[in-house]
């Protein structure tokens, strides 16, 4: 029964989205907050991520959008005096915070009870040594290995165990700092990285079991020791690739019953031995051909895998975990999908789920794409089918990717050492006649999976064209497009044939019980292997297209807007239908909408749903470029696009039409043109004058956008960009080095509401998603703001926009130029909604459904200063240059709020994880063009008491100008050089600008990478550096002599 003494609970979120800790914790946190509120608990929430649903005011009684630090958490505890604290919902961040607060005595001091899984259990699961002892005690096998705290200890262990070895840092996320070492030099690299990454400076050196099958169990336990297995999952990729980077299947399909029982039994034994109360994930390495296994890892909390298991089974793990933390036993918690069974009922699934990670290498072309024990994916897609192959094919097309593959001569190498393209390469090798045995030997992927892939492909290649054959191919999961490619006809011909031959998908329910009980579950997936389940549709449907997997440039912010649109649709009395394929998000929680279709976001998958739902209209404004791309196809099929029309979208996106519009409105934009050939490009660039900003049209997140400084740079650029976007022109604009500003507005066709203007700290040239944004504006003149408001209104009305419009400006004094107009929701919607208290997505949805705005114009600036700072995941992406530019690189964002700008900025920077040194050494290494500009900055840091160091040229320049600066060797000048100092921890902050455009100077690149790996702040924009300096200056108590 529920512990009635608990009346107020503190929940800590996971903070910004970083690789290894993404939207799944917003999903978990939101579900848990709701579960607690249902029980009448007063919920206090701490999270720094404004893009989350869980930080909406209605999700908790009090929301603290503050940095997740022990100091802030203690402040909140002191002020709010919660009775309890749930640690297992905020990912590794929440768990580590629980440990810190417990170990520093904060929880005891204020009488806060750790609810659910207790401290001892967390420690036993997370501390490698304690975990090893426990496993030995209960007789569960773990890989031979030892924990070490130094490199010399590691070498001794290596000599005992022999190579290859796996290095796993303790208490880290997504395998940060870990790796696989085949020899002593690799061991040195990973042990050093691992010791740095581990908050307790401990790594586990383990005998490698790479090539074993990787199996996971999600298990759940209550305080009365009832324990169940929610779901088994099998990684298609073998041990050696982080599970977050693996293709995963649920349920496990290739295991014998003996193996299933063995592992399930072990998972239940472990959760009981650890005395975990709530959800837990246990990962196993299972021998490829026998029942020998090892426990790889246990996560005593909700996780990415638990989000996947929740969506895969319909069992709400976070919700049940929250209830268990309050003292309920599993048999007392009702399963919300069946409404008849309880949480003690193990889910039973009658379909196959496949998850595929989404990696960021379409943006980071220079990054190291190889997959290993350190996670690199930013997001994932999930697909459901009636067979492995149907689900796999749906998942692949959900990625919205068609990567360039290496030449066939290199395939074997890539099969053996996987990168993000392996699944695509496997298809090509089968087309080229590789045998299953060969691919299995190289990849170590279980043969049954490969056989399914090869056999399906073989069927596609058969030249038969008949109704039964088309039905067969659709049943194998092939898209209309894939079949059209093979049958050499346009995609729409296949669609027509399907209609003519009455080959339509059936929609099945996800109900946790495989149809054992009659349920009214609103959670559907399509299959061409079965008939439709009746739709008990009530009221008119409005369909919202989601944004798919989290990727750089299209992140959680879009899901936030999507969820608010769904809520608004329901409020207005319509049936809200969501189509999406991201298992991590709140929008794919079946509780959010009236109907959830877990489907790939392609026209071939979306149109049959529209045929079934016959909606009043379709909303494409909240799903980023993913949904916008579908707009014309949906409209051409005869469905109404709600809000801005396809023509409005095209007028904003098509360069020539947009130019015409601006000319008509007499609104200036940086001089530029769209070009379609190389010659045109050079001619235009020289006419405008370098530097110019180049980018392909129809892109999001500044993909392939660059500042180009010369003909040579342009030559290099065109080689890549043209191949990226051959159907669309390249855009070349004059580069104006002004301040950037941005608005999100809502237009009903007659009125335009502008909740506020955001000002970017970094000058134009740094992608808006990577810039620090401030609201209210900090330095824009009233005239500039007036122009921004006026231009916004005129453009929105002229475009006949209905719903959201996002406009980006560059401001040079009082002059304002338009950079870009997006007739859709942008990534700043959650931030601005929260700081202005204007529910933008809701208002836009209301407008799309026919309501009129009640107010218009630019709203007065209100409230505290709010600073949105980007968060990067560079430490996990080796070989990726960290320098900021027009192409977006950040994975998440945080908010800092305070009455004055510099406090807000400081909070935001802390929340972003930047380790801001209060004293120490600052390294200046800047381009010649920036030397003059750094003088006041260097002077400032010097006066604050920092030691300054710089390379020869910069040091000489600063010393000449009276700023005492020590010289440090460049890389090639011998030791000790910059990299040596970075290595020994003698540098605390780096200010580094690059010499020109795209090509990263070799040394600069090395410095930036080394800094990213060691967690040393490296600022590549002088604007960011200046803002940081100002913040430090303002918060530092300074001793000043009497005048």
């Amino acid at each position: 029964m529920r512990d009635k003494s608990i009346k107020k609970v503190l929940v800590i979120g996971s903070g910004p989205i970083v690789i290894g800790q993404a939207a799944e914790f917003d999903y978990a946190g939101a579900q848990a907050c709701q579960a607690l509120k249902e029980e009448g608990i007063e919920v206090i929430l701490l999270n720094s991520n404004p893009a989350t649903i869980m930080t909406d005011k209605e999700m908790a009684h009090k929301v603290y959008l503050e940095p997740i630090t022990p100091e802030i958490a203690e402040q909140i505890i002191r002020k709010e005096r919660p009775d309890g604290f749930i640690a297992g919902l905020g990912g590794q961040t929440g768990l580590n915070m629980a440990l810190t607060l417990a170990e520093t005595g904060v929880l005891d001091r204020y009488g806060v009870k750790l609810l659910g899984t207790n401290l001892e259990a967390i420690k036993k699961a997370e501390d490698r040594e304690l975990f090893k002892e426990l496993m030995e005690e209960i007789g569960e096998p773990i890989c031979p290995g030892e924990t070490v705290k130094s490199l010399s200890e590691a070498k001794q262990v290596a000599s005992r165990l022999g190579y290859p070895l796996v290095i796993r840092p303790a208490f880290t996320l997504g395998g940060t700092g870990g790796g696989m070492a085949d020899n002593e030099s690799e061991l040195e690299i990973y042990v050093k990285k691992g010791l740095e990454a581990s908050p307790i400076g401990q790594v586990l050196i383990e005998k490698s079991v790479a090539g074993f099958r990787e199996i996971e169990f999600e298990v759940m336990r209550d305080a009365r020791d009832n324990a169940i297995a929610i779901c088994s999952m099998e990684n298609v990729d073998p041990v050696g690739i982080h599970t977050g980077d693996s293709i995963v299947v649920a349920p496990a399909l290739t295991l014998s019953q003996e193996e299933m029982r063995l592992l399930k039994g072990a998972a239940l034994k472990i959760i009981r031995a650890l005395k975990i109360e709530g959800g837990c994930n246990v990962q196993f390495a299972l021998h490829p051909s026998k029942s020998e296994y090892y426990i790889i890892e246990v996560n005593p909390r909700v996780s990415r895998s638990s989000a996947l298991a929740s969506k895969a089974t319909g069992y709400p793990i976070a919700r049940v975990t929250a209830k268990v933390a309050l003292g309920y036993t599993l048999d007392e918690i009702i399963n919300p999908l069946t409404k008849k069974t309880t949480a003690v009922f193990e889910p039973n699934i009658d379909y196959v789920v496949v998850k595929i990670p989404r990696w960021p290498f379409d943006k980071f072309k220079s990054g190291d794409r190889h997959l290993g024990t350190q996670m690199k994916a930013t997001g994932e897609v999930m697909a459901i089918g009636r067979s492995f192959i149907e689900a796999l094919q749906k998942a692949i097309r959900g990625l919205e990717l068609k990567p360039d593959l290496p030449p066939s001569t290199e395939w074997d190498k890539y099969l053996q050492k996987a990168d993000d393209r392996r699944i695509f390469i496997i298809e090509e090798t089968f087309r080229a006649g590789y045998s299953v045995e060969k691919v299995a030997n190289l990849t170590k992927i279980s043969k049954p999976f490969l056989e399914e892939m090869k056999n399906a492909l073989a069927r596609l290649l058969i030249s038969e064209k008949s109704p039964s054959w088309l039905s067969e191919l659709k049943g194998l999961g092939f898209s209309d497009q894939q079949i059209a490619n093979q049958w050499q006809c346009p995609e729409q011909d296949i669609r027509k044939l399907r209609k003519e031959w009455q080959i339509t998908p059936g929609y099945k329910r996800v109900d946790t019980c495989a149809g054992q009980l009659r349920t009214n579950s609103p959670y559907f997936y399509s299959t061409y292997q079965g008939i439709d389940e009746p739709l008990d549709k009530q009221g008119e449907s409005v369909v919202v297209i989601g944004s798919g997997p989290i990727r750089i440039g299209q992140g959680l912010e879009f899901d936030y807007a999507t969820v608010h649109a769904i809520k608004a649709i329901r409020k207005l009395g319509y049936r809200a239908v969501i189509i999406n394929n991201n298992p991590e998000t709140v929008s794919t929680d079946f509780d959010i909408s009236d109907a959830l279709y877990f489907e790939p976001l392609t026209l071939g998958d979306v149109l049959p749903i529209l045929e079934r739902e016959k909606p009043l209209g379709v909303i494409v404004q909240f799903g980023g470029q993913t949904s916008i791309k579908l707009a014309s196809g949906i409209a051409n099929a005869g469905y109404k696009i709600l809000g801005s029309s396809v023509d409005t979208i095209d007028r904003a996106e098509d360069r020539e039409r947009f130019e015409e519009l601006l000319e008509t409105l007499k609104i200036p934009r940086p001089k530029g043109a769209g070009v379609r050939t190389r010659d045109e490009a050079f001619k235009t660039a020289n006419l405008i004058g370098y530097p110019v900003l180049v980018r392909p049209s129809y892109v999001l997140g500044g993909r392939a956008m660059e500042i180009v400084y010369s003909d040579d740079d342009l030559e290099n650029y065109l080689k890549e960009a043209v191949s990226i976007s051959e159907d669309h022109p390249i855009l070349i604009d004059r580069y104006i080095q002004g301040k950037e500003a941005e608005v999100d507005a809502i237009c009903d066709g007659e009125k335009v509401l502008i909740p506020g203007i955001m000002e970017h700290i970094e000058r134009a040239g740094v992608h808006s998603g990577d810039s620090i944004a401030v609201y209210p504006t900090k330095s824009l003149s009233p005239q500039a703001k007036e122009k921004i408001a006026s231009y916004t209104e005129r453009i929105a009305l002229a475009l006949q926009a209905q719903g959201m419009v996002n406009i980006q400006f560059v401001v040079d004094g009082d002059d304002v130029y338009i950079i870009e107009v997006n007739p859709r929701a942008s990534r700043t919607v959650p931030f601005m909604s929260k700081v202005t208290n204007i529910p933008m997505a809701e208002l836009a949805t209301r407008v799309m459904l026919g309501e009129k705005l009640t107010e218009s114009g630019l709203k007065p600036e209100i409230g505290d200063i709010a600073v949105k700072a980007p968060v990067f995941s560079f430490a996990k992406l080796s070989q990726v240059d960290t320098v900021l530019g027009p192409e977006m690189k950040s994975t998440g964002e945080v908010l800092g709020r305070a009455p004055v700008f510099y406090q807000a900025l400081y909070k935001a920077l802390i929340a972003s994880g930047l380790s801001i040194p209060q004293e120490g050494t600052v390294l200046f290494t800047v381009a010649d063009k920036d030397k003059n500009e750094i003088l006041p900055l260097a002077q400032g840091f010097y006066e604050l008491g920092y030691r300054l160091i710089a390379t020869t040229g910069t040091a000489a320049y600063l010393n000449v100008h009276g700023i005492r600066t020590e010289r440090v060797n460049k890389l090639f000048e011998g030791s000790p050089n910059i990299v040596d100092l970075l290595q020994t921890g003698e540098i605390d902050l780096i200010i580094n600008t690059i010499t020109k455009g795209k090509t990263p100077a070799r040394e600069g690149f090395q410095i930036r990478r080394r800094a990213a790996e060691r967690g040393i702040p490296c600022l590549t924009s002088l604007d960011t550096a200046t803002a940081l300096y100002e913040a430090l200056r303002k918060i530092q108590l300074q001793a000043t002599p009497l005048l």
Partner: protein
């Protein structure tokens, strides 16, 4: 899709299949677990047409120790059998055992259709004759160091025998028969169905601890004054509540009838139907399900074994 191949229910509903072999008639029963071989060869499945809701069979290897007995189902129906080597092995296994197979059936639709009736007879229509090639297994004495149990095998699974051996019990197995007299045994375990009811009296007169498991539990319940119903259930992972401790166990059911009113004290409750699934009266324990190892040991100890 070849319409000659289908599962046709008594009410005329036809569920087309993509492929299959064999043609059999029998009671159609849904199975919600993925231990295809174990359930298909479980003695309780004898004569049945089993419809599996698991999405895809034939990706796991066919393992001989999953075979529970020489008895088994008449036919099995799948949504999908894998296209590769292991899928072929699974098809061959069923063919050798004389079990008819259908694949490519919308088994979820069958489950939803059968929901109201729970079980219905029907015909599995494949299109080839089956050549049966089954090996039989015989009863056995398994000496061990622990308490001696007489096991009345009216359909015991091999896995239960393995569990008892692991727990150290010395077993004497009597196949489908109850000896007139038990010599030198500490207790009797009766498992399966089809027990001669007139022999129950002799069992009770023996004064030995008696454990009944599975369908046979209904006989002893009726002989002790209880009643049973007609709710059929085959499948794994069902939650049952242990009344005394309030602990929930995940158990496997292989039953054609359910308990309604039990003699003595209710030991376990089905958390779905809230009906009793286990009881104790003196030294007699009756269970509708096969308990997992630790629970089995606990129950045997409870009656002094």
């Amino acid at each position: 899709m070849n319409n000659n191949k289908a599962l046709v229910l008594r009410d005329g509903t036809k569920f087309p299949a993509k492929a299959g072999f064999g043609r059999v008639k029998g009671q159609v029963v849904m199975v919600y677990s993925n231990n295809f071989i174990e359930v298909a060869t479980d003695p309780t499945s004898e004569g049945l047409i089993l419809v599996f809701t698991a999405p895809q069979a034939g990706l796991a290897a066919v393992v001989s120790n999953e075979i529970e007995s020489n008895k088994g189902a008449k036919g099995v129906v799948f949504q999908n059998i894998a296209s590769g080597t292991r899928g072929d092995e699974l098809r061959s296994f069923f063919k050798r055992r004389g079990i008819a197979v259908l694949e490519g059936v919308d088994t979820r639709e069958v489950a939803l259709h059968l929901q109201e009736t729970a079980a219905i007879s029907g015909e599995l229509q494949g299109d080839t004759e089956l050549a049966v090639d089954c090996k039989t297994v015989s009863g056995k004495r398994i000496p061990n160091s622990g308490n001696r149990l007489a096991v009345i095998d009216s359909g015991i699974s091999e896995s239960l025998i393995r569990t008892l051996v692991e727990l150290g019990y010395d077993l004497t197995i009597y196949e489908n028969t109850i000896p007139d007299e038990f010599l030198d045994v500490n207790g009797v375990l009766v498992v399966g169905e089809g027990l001669p009811e007139n022999k129950l009296e002799s069992l009770q007169k023996s004064g030995l601890p008696l454990i009944f498991m599975g369908e046979v539990t209904n006989y002893i319940v009726r002989s002790l004054g209880g009643t049973s119903g007609n709710d059929l259930r085959l499948g794994d992972g069902y939650p049952v509540l242990e009344k005394e401790t309030h602990k929930v166990w995940s158990v496997n059911f292989r039953r054609k009838q359910n308990l309604e009113k039990v003699p003595g004290e209710v030991l376990f409750l089905d958390l779905i139907s809230n009906k009793p699934v286990g009881f104790i009266k003196g030294k007699v324990i009756g269970l509708e399900f096969t308990p997992e190892k630790s629970l089995l040991q606990q129950l045997l100890r409870r009656v002094g074994l």
